[in-house]
């Protein structure tokens, strides 16, 4: 496993928080997903060895908890809440706007053709009073109607353009 030194440091810090090493499985999965982008079979083996578990003990969590993924996603992750309060306020239109803007379909395994985003419809994000809500990477955006979804899409595209521009020789 090729993990950043900071990730390794945080992994060693978190394990002693629990009297049983197994409890650290979720935190380790989060840390490794943040570092590597997804949970590979190698990561499952690595965590199991680190926590003195069988790989199946780790794998069963990866398949149970919706936030863990076994494939890479786009550079940005757009999660649109589809649960009732958000749907009542137009969450489906919000999601359709992102799909159209990035020429992609909402789904956990989907990546837009330019590799820029993965759009996902997710269950309740617990911000029902400011519906519809969207999480882009780790940041929550509130009252995202179709117009605001278009603005956010433009912003993501502009940021992607800047990055490409900056990396040009």
């Amino acid at each position: 496993m090729n993990l950043k030194p900071d990730t390794l440091k945080r992994i060693d810090e978190v394990i002693p928080h629990y009297p049983s090493k197994r409890s650290a499985t979720l935190p380790l999965l989060h840390l490794i997903q943040e570092d590597a982008g997804y949970i590979s079979p190698e990561a499952i083996e690595w965590i199991a060895a680190k926590l003195e578990l069988e790989p199946i003990n780790v794998y069963e969590l990866v398949t149970f908890y919706p936030m863990f993924r076994q494939q890479p996603i786009g550079r940005r992750h757009i999660k649109v809440c589809r649960t009732l309060s958000c749907a009542l306020m137009g969450g489906y239109k919000t999601c359709a706007t992102f799909e159209k803007e990035f020429n992609t379909r909402a789904g956990p395994g989907e990546i837009s053709p330019d590799g820029e985003v993965t759009v996902e419809f997710v269950e309740c994000l617990a911000s029902c009073g400011t519906a519809p809500v969207v999480m882009i990477d780790d940041e929550l955006h509130e009252k995202v109607d179709a117009a605001k979804a278009k603005q956010l899409s433009d912003q993501i595209k502009a940021e992607a353009g800047q990055k490409k521009g900056a990396s040009r020789p």
Binding site: H17, S20, Y65, M67, R82, A87, E123, S127, C128
Partner: protein, 450 residues
């Protein structure tokens, strides 16, 4: 009668201009004074205050907090754990998010008082995976509190030590159920445990006595200890003491969070006066009063009966006081305080299909009636919406919903079947129109829900 003023106890400082979530601001506002006083008292006195207050858990079930603490096995010799349930995952509920984001030290003070009262040396805050920002805020706040000796070894020089750790979930609704949460914290799939024998108070985390309390409940503990259990009972109504935070979402002019003395405000006052009434040109059609699993209420229906005190009542939806007992008497529940409002633009089959999609996705899959039943209900309502329903589907839907509750390990069986049962009971006519005219039934201007 006009709506009462808000009584902000827990949300006192939330949204207050200039109020920040760092410890300096909290201390300027009298923070940690209650902890300082508590540390000098006998733990059993603190438990007695909480018992006297009658405060009921704010997570959804409304179980009295003092009674829960009273059940803890204190003779086993094993460590006692406190788990803070911050897995705010019931659709319609968003109060704990704001407590953690804007006033994390209020929660930490509540946790530390509760830990001291119950001789807990280690507490975990189990926070939703979807709140990464909230988790960072809490970690910073705990570090600040540790620096000031409010958390950690030898708290305030008293010889008492206690650590708090933040533990992030990963998107599973079932982690809000206390035994599912415990399994998850142990590093397993969040399959709820069978009670008995696994009552957390006796055999909880790592088979040790464990208390699981909601974020808001622990904040109430701070205020109870501050003012005394007797004074706390003066707030609210008998058996429904204290204040209640209502999270209102959906079709109202001013959705948001509002805190009132429990039972002192009616549904009509909350929705019409506090939340500004329906959207322009619309009328209220239905409301779910306590998170998406609570049974739905239909505007226009009436409820007759006798209160516990023997008084007769004849209420419309607008007249119902917003407390645990009144909502229970009319066949629904106060639950987590998440009020979801729907106006006359909503097609109830679509609304139920949306809810059913949620519960089918979130069933942990451990018990067959829930795993198969929630998915089956989702399939039926989904095909109704998409014009593929069969004549027998209405009756089949009812039959499936009726066969889940009471046949599962945890209350998810009830949570997933109550919406279907109540939608069919109250809006059955909308369901019998299928399969004749599916999507075309969506009224003009209505929002897509599935």
């Amino acid at each position: 009668m006009s709506a009462p003023e808000q009584r902000r106890l827990i949300f006192q400082h939330i949204d207050e201009p200039g109020y920040t979530n760092d410890i300096a601001c909290y201390l300027r506002n009298g923070g940690y004074e209650v902890l300082k006083k508590s540390i000098g008292r006998k733990p059993e006195d603190l438990i007695a205050e909480v018992k006297k207050s009658g405060v009921r858990g704010r997570g959804g079930a409304g179980f009295p907090c003092g009674v829960k603490w009273g059940l803890v096995d204190r003779k086993s010799g094993k460590p006692i754990y406190l788990i803070v349930n911050a897995d705010e995952s019931e659709p319609g509920t968003f109060k704990d998010r704001y407590i953690m984001h804007q006033d994390p030290h209020q929660l930490i003070e509540g946790i530390m008082i509760s830990c001291f009262a119950n001789n807990v040396k280690q507490a975990y805050i189990y926070i939703r995976g979807e709140f990464p920002h909230g988790a960072r805020i809490l970690e910073t706040a705990i570090a600040e509190a540790r620096e000031q000796n409010f958390v950690g070894p030898d708290v305030l020089g008293s010889g008492y030590s206690c650590e708090i750790y933040v533990h992030r979930g990963a998107g599973a609704y079932i982690c809000g159920e206390e035994t599912g949460l415990i399994e998850s914290l142990e590093g397993k799939r969040a399959y709820p445990r069978i009670k008995p024998p696994y009552f957390p108070a006796v055999l909880g985390l790592y088979q040790c006595p464990t208390i699981v309390n909601n974020v808001e409940t622990l904040c109430h503990v701070k205020h109870i200890v501050d003012m005394g259990g007797d004074a706390y009972t003066k707030i609210g109504t008998p058996n429904n003491t204290g204040t209640r935070i209502f999270c209102v979402s959906g079709h109202v002019q001013r959705p948001g969070y509002y805190e009132f003395e429990t039972g002192k405000i009616t549904m009509g006052q909350l929705l019409n006066e506090v939340c500004g009434g329906p959207l322009p040109g619309r009328k209220f059609k239905a409301v779910i009063p306590g998170g998406s699993s609570a049974k739905i209420l239909k505007f226009g229906e009436r409820f007759k009966g006798k209160t516990r005190a023997g008084e007769e009542y004849d209420w419309g939806v607008e007249d119902v006081p917003m407390d645990f007992d009144s909502l229970g008497m009319i066949g629904t529940m106060g639950g987590s305080g998440g009020v979801i409002v729907m106006d006359d633009s909503v097609n109830m089959v679509e609304a139920l299909a949306n809810i059913n999609a949620f519960y089918a996705h979130e069933s942990c899959g451990q018990c067959t009636p829930c795993r198969e039943g929630s998915l089956w209900m989702k399939k039926i309502t989904s095909r109704m919406v998409h014009g593929e329903a069969r004549v027998e589907d209405g009756a089949l839907l009812k039959s499936v919903a009726d066969q889940i509750p009471g046949r599962t390990i945890c209350a998810f069986g009830e949570a997933c079947s109550w919406p279907t049962q109540s939608f069919l009971a109250k809006f059955g006519d909308e369901f019998t129109q299928y399969p004749a005219a599916p999507k075309s039934l969506r009224p003009n201007g209505a929002t897509e829900l599935i």
